[in-house]
């Protein structure tokens, strides 16, 4: 395939993804740090899609199963992610309800949609504005790890609230599934190569 004229790839030069040195790709290994050189991440779209599909599958148990189980005086009360948000609203803790809702519900869903859109953009013949796609990508990378907040909340509550017989909190299976969603979307965003989108546009967007 041919690359746009003003790119490094068109000159046969690859930017080392470890140390950001420019080297001819036929060297195969970076002359400074020894990492493998590629003009574009190999099999980028397939890998990203595989990780995104993993995230979608994990997202189902993450929301259907309980994320934690509150045992009060012997009787257990499991709660899901959304159930926790509803509970916080009932307790009038609106700011915290907003943090949990944004971090655990909105961001993962928005991230999945954004990544699917980016893969589709890199795949189709004439993507929209590459600048817009790049901005979406930057946002996706930026918010990546923040979805872990809910998992950490569960971890802290489980460690802290252990008054045996009176009140204790146990982790639910959704916590691991949700951590899996966060990790696989982070991997997907990390492995995605935005240069594929720029490759599809010729000089008109310059």
């Amino acid at each position: 395939m041919s690359y746009p004229e003003n790119t490094a790839a068109a000159q046969g030069l690859a930017l080392c993804h470890e140390c950001h040195r420019l080297d001819p790709v036929e060297r195969h290994h970076c002359s400074r740090c020894g990492a493998e050189l590629h003009l574009r991440h190999p099999d980028c779209l397939q890998r990203t899609m595989a990780l995104l599909i993993t995230a979608v599958i994990l997202y189902i148990p993450a929301n259907v199963l309980p994320i934690m189980n509150t045992v009060q005086l012997g009787s257990g009360e499991p709660s899901t992610i959304l159930g926790g948000v509803v509970l916080l609203i009932q307790l009038d803790s609106y700011p915290i309800a907003a943090v949990i809702f944004i971090a655990s519900v909105m961001v993962p869903v928005a991230k999945l949609f954004a990544m699917f859109y980016l893969v589709w953009s890199a795949h189709r013949r004439d993507p929209g504005s590459p600048m817009q796609c790049t901005k979406i990508y930057r946002l996706t990378e930026l918010v990546g790890k923040w979805s872990m907040v809910d998992v950490f909340v569960v971890a802290i509550l489980v460690a802290l609230i252990q008054l045996v017989g009176l009140l204790s909190i146990l982790p639910g299976p959704a916590a691991l599934a949700f951590a899996g969603v966060v990790v696989s979307t982070m991997l997907a965003a990390h492995g995605f190569d935005t240069r594929l989108i720029w490759d599809r546009t010729r000089e008109k967007h310059d």
């Binding site: 490094a8 950001h20 907040v149 460690a159 240069r195 720029w198």
Partner: protein
């Protein structure tokens, strides 16, 4: 030094390579005429990581940053005394990390019963409930990776600041930038604050020394990392090991 071989011969007809957008205190005064490029060298050129535009890179001065002229991605920045800053904040971070691992993080009391948790227990308690996988993820994200990251920053910056040669710098450099992607110190801080509000109505919650110290640790880590730019670090490593 074979490593800096000119690669000009493979770019015979590369015209109008653009300079980056320079930002910084004095950069407005620096004028830039379009380079008449005869050959491309990895000392004077780079490519944008996000859009692969070939950019002619000038020597970046302290306090300056260079952005891609097409997509605006940060190509490189040279913070003032970046390595010194990184080293000093990392050393301060070490002190805060030791404190936050040895004192109580939060204490919770209700109806005369009390429970105190330490930082490692955020992962240990999950492990005791037979969720080993989840416990491992949490341990790695909030304790193991931050410790590794801090150690890598210190081991990397000491030879660069002191000016001693160290042959293992490339390995440490690679490791540091990898760990940086996955450490979740600041996310855990927000998680702790959210849990506080969640249980404040249930009982009395006391913030331990470890809690404050972990916040200080998060700030130190962020400040240390802000002094380390990938391209500048690797140029320094190259100069050190050459």
């Amino acid at each position: 030094m074979a490593a800096t071989a000119k690669v000009g011969e493979i770019a015979p007809r590369c015209r109008a390579i653009r300079p980056p957008v320079l930002k910084g205190r004095n950069s407005g005064e620096r004028s830039w005429e379009s380079l008449s490029v005869t050959e491309i060298s990895n000392q004077t050129h780079t490519a944008c990581e996000e859009c692969d535009l070939l950019v002619a890179l000038p020597v970046i001065q302290e306090g300056e940053r260079a952005e891609c002229p097409r997509c605006g991605h940060l190509l490189t920045a040279r913070p003032r005394q970046g390595f010194e800053r990184a080293l000093s904040f990392a050393l301060a971070g070490c002190v805060f990390l030791v404190i936050s691992l040895s004192f109580p993080f939060l204490a919770f009391s209700s109806s005369g019963l009390e429970n105190v948790m330490t930082l490692p227990e955020a992962s240990l308690a999950i492990y005791r409930q037979h969720h080993a996988g989840l416990a491992a993820i949490i341990f790695v994200a909030i304790i193991a990776l931050p410790i590794g990251l801090l150690a890598a920053i210190i081991v990397l910056t000491i030879p660069l600041v002191v000016g001693r040669r160290a042959s293992w710098l490339p390995q440490v450099g690679k490791l540091m930038f990898k760990l940086n992607d996955w450490a979740m110190v600041e996310v855990f801080v927000i998680g702790a604050i959210v849990s506080l509000v969640k249980i404040a109505h249930l009982a009395t919650v006391v913030l331990g020394l470890s809690f404050w110290s972990y916040i200080a640790f998060a700030i130190c880590l962020t400040a240390a990392l802000s002094g380390l730019d990938r391209m500048q670090v690797w140029q320094a490593i190259e100069a050190n090991t050459a």
